[in-house]
Symmetry: C2
Subunit: 396 residues, 2 copies
């Protein structure tokens, strides 16, 4: 048997793309804690330990608040598959890639999709949702993305939640990029199903997907006439393990190491304070926005609707966007993301998330962007971006 | 905001249950490598790097050989969901818990289940499979468990594979506990779909599920008339990322840290050599079997059908099995598993898997078992178990 596998050798990258984001050093350390059994009393305690801060971060009292053993997409699958069954009508608000994915999942559950569409980079207007609900007859779920990672839009949810509930529908929201980086209030806003991922503003590696479901959503699960189409993410079985008191029913072996990472990530959020963390994301994003605009670049989303952890910057006419990203990665060790779907080739996606959202990273990134743009003969005065960001921080 | 989360403090346990098994120290170290982006050229190289040794360990040339971003159950879901669609008939060979789960998943895919049953602890006889195939009409898949973690049976697959193929069916096998611990030959035995987990004989934490599919299985996926019912584990999309050459299509953000762990686990297997590793599992299991029998305990499975990484020991009459497990955990820091399903309360499940399968652990466990049994007034001469194991090793 030949062994051609060399020693694992992974470079450090400053991860300022759409995710995974920079992992907090304490989270790496937490992951070296020994793996123990899924019924070990210590592990059961850690499960309980993790549910409490998850409720805090989601701002919810929902009893069913846990983490799915997969990445954010598994969280989306858990959210949709548990509440949708064949014949259900779901209004999917589609103004970006992740809502396209939602619609695909609804169809795989046998649900009927009613689309409410908007341009990629614009908001979903509540009136359009209301009109769709009036037209569609009985609607089980309204599905929407809170922080659209593909477009950089932060979608207000309160009004749409009110409308959904008036029509007897559950509100399901994707908070993969917004949780612990933006204001998100599950109970106050009446969100019935909400999921996220560990690899964005929680500063842990990808591998678990926080999920919370309201009593109404759990009632809908209990009333299903068919089993959930996925076994792996069936919450009626998962709750017997996560919420099982002393009698924990085996469902699957959870990824202990990822739970340790999530727990440490949550601990760091609580130490900083959720409000402080949200303000930090806003402050760093604003300075970054000021800096890129001073460099002559344009932002894709109107300021009042911008997602602070993820910014979409328009690719200027004549710029080779891939060459710029390659230059950032190979010469500055900085990763940013490309646009995709309807925005392919049109934007860069830049993340200032969790541990990665810092004043220092704003300057590192602006300097590197300016350097790469200058190579392509784009830009005004050198230093315009970093200077503008410095003034923005000073004025803030 | 209150922060009542204490520092993560996880005790070391000698994990000798059905899994998770002991993680190799080098795997813990690999997991501290920095998380990088899923399109980073270094990460793409690591994906390719991991597929090669996976093929070696599975003993296959299958092009589609990768790892699902979830635990072993997600691997089962990927295996079944991709090849089964509504109306398909699946013969499920059911002689333990994991085949019960398989049948449940087949039904959630809209498939019809034909059961071939045997007692928990006995083999599935090929003639019974043949009879079922003759009766059932067109069968798409025969599903079977190679190493049944709930019973401790190692199921021979060659004959059943031949029969399945004669009837135009695919063979799907669960190798969660057998991969890298028992002989398993995907290509020689004609297994079309096979999955495993990282947390058994690969000595990594739970979190990824190796999966391999033959060209025939991939053809069945390509010919589907309906999309796979799970989006998360849809291999037609996953292969565009894992096997996409330079053009990698985004599907979901994979758990980088878990991939590092899997890669390091595979590296360790290749260093030891697969054959040497399999012999080590056999040698340690045999000595353990000799030891427990010398203590007056009975093994649940006939010797020639025993799974070496996982042994089922009968709970003697009058013994409080839970008290024994609690004593092992709290007084010796050793975890073993309870029986469940049809074997609830009847057996203990003891794993000597991967890094955990060592001479030293055999003695640690036999001594601890003897000590706990003596507390419940069971046993012959003290030291009988360890002495018998020592003689067995010497004679081997």
């Amino acid at each position: 048997m030949t062994n051609d596998l060399s020693e694992l050798n992974v470079p450090y990258r400053l991860l300022l793309g759409p995710g995974p984001s920079l992992v907090h050093p304490r989270v790496y350390r937490a992951m070296t804690a020994p793996v123990i059994g899924y019924l070990d009393p210590v592990f059961i305690q850690l499960l309980d330990d993790t549910q409490r801060p998850l409720r805090t971060v989601f701002r919810t009292e929902n009893d069913f608040t846990m983490a799915i053993s997969g990445t954010g997409t598994a969280g989306m699958e858990a959210a949709i598959y548990n509440v949708v069954e064949p014949g259900d009508t779901v209004v999917v608000c589609q103004n970006g890639y992740f809502a396209v994915r939602m619609a695909d999942m609804v169809r795989r559950c046998g649900g009927e999709v009613v689309l409410v569409e908007a341009d990629w980079g614009k908001l979903i207007e509540p009136e359009r949702v209301e009109a769709a609900l009036k037209d569609a007859g009985r609607v089980k779920v309204v599905a929407i993305v809170h922080g659209e990672t593909s477009t950089g839009v932060l979608q207000p949810l309160e009004e749409i939640s009110r409308i959904a509930h008036e029509h007897g529908a559950l509100l399901l929201a994707d908070a993969v990029t917004s949780l612990a980086g933006c204001e998100l209030r599950i109970d106050d806003w009446g969100i019935d199903v909400c999921y996220s991922g560990t690899q964005k503003c929680l500063s842990a590696p990808p591998g678990m997907a926080p999920l919370t479901m309201s009593a109404q959503a759990m009632e809908a699960v209990a009333k299903r006439s068919e089993p959930v189409r996925s076994w792996y993410v069936d919450v009626s079985m998962l709750q017997n393990y996560w919420g099982g008191g002393n009698a924990r029913a085996y469902h699957h072996t959870p990824p202990m190491t990822m739970l340790y990472a999530l727990r440490e990530g949550l601990r760091i959020v609580l130490e900083e304070g959720l409000e402080t963390r949200i303000v930090r994301h806003l402050r760093n994003a604003r300075a970054f926005w000021t800096g890129v605009e001073a460099m002559g670049l344009t932002l894709h989303v109107e300021e009042k609707h911008r997602l602070t952890p993820l910014t979409t910057v328009r690719v200027p006419e004549g710029i080779d966007e891939m060459a710029l990203r390659q230059g950032l990665l190979l010469e500055h060790n900085i990763e940013i993301g490309r646009g995709f779907g309807n925005l392919e080739g049109q934007v860069w996606r830049i993340g200032l998330m969790g541990y990665g959202s810092s004043e220092e990273n704003v300057f590192a990134l602006l300097y590197a962007l300016e350097t790469q743009l200058a190579k392509q003969k784009f830009g005004r005065d050198r230093g315009a971006g970093v200077a503008a960001a410095a003034r923005a921080f000073a004025a803030d």
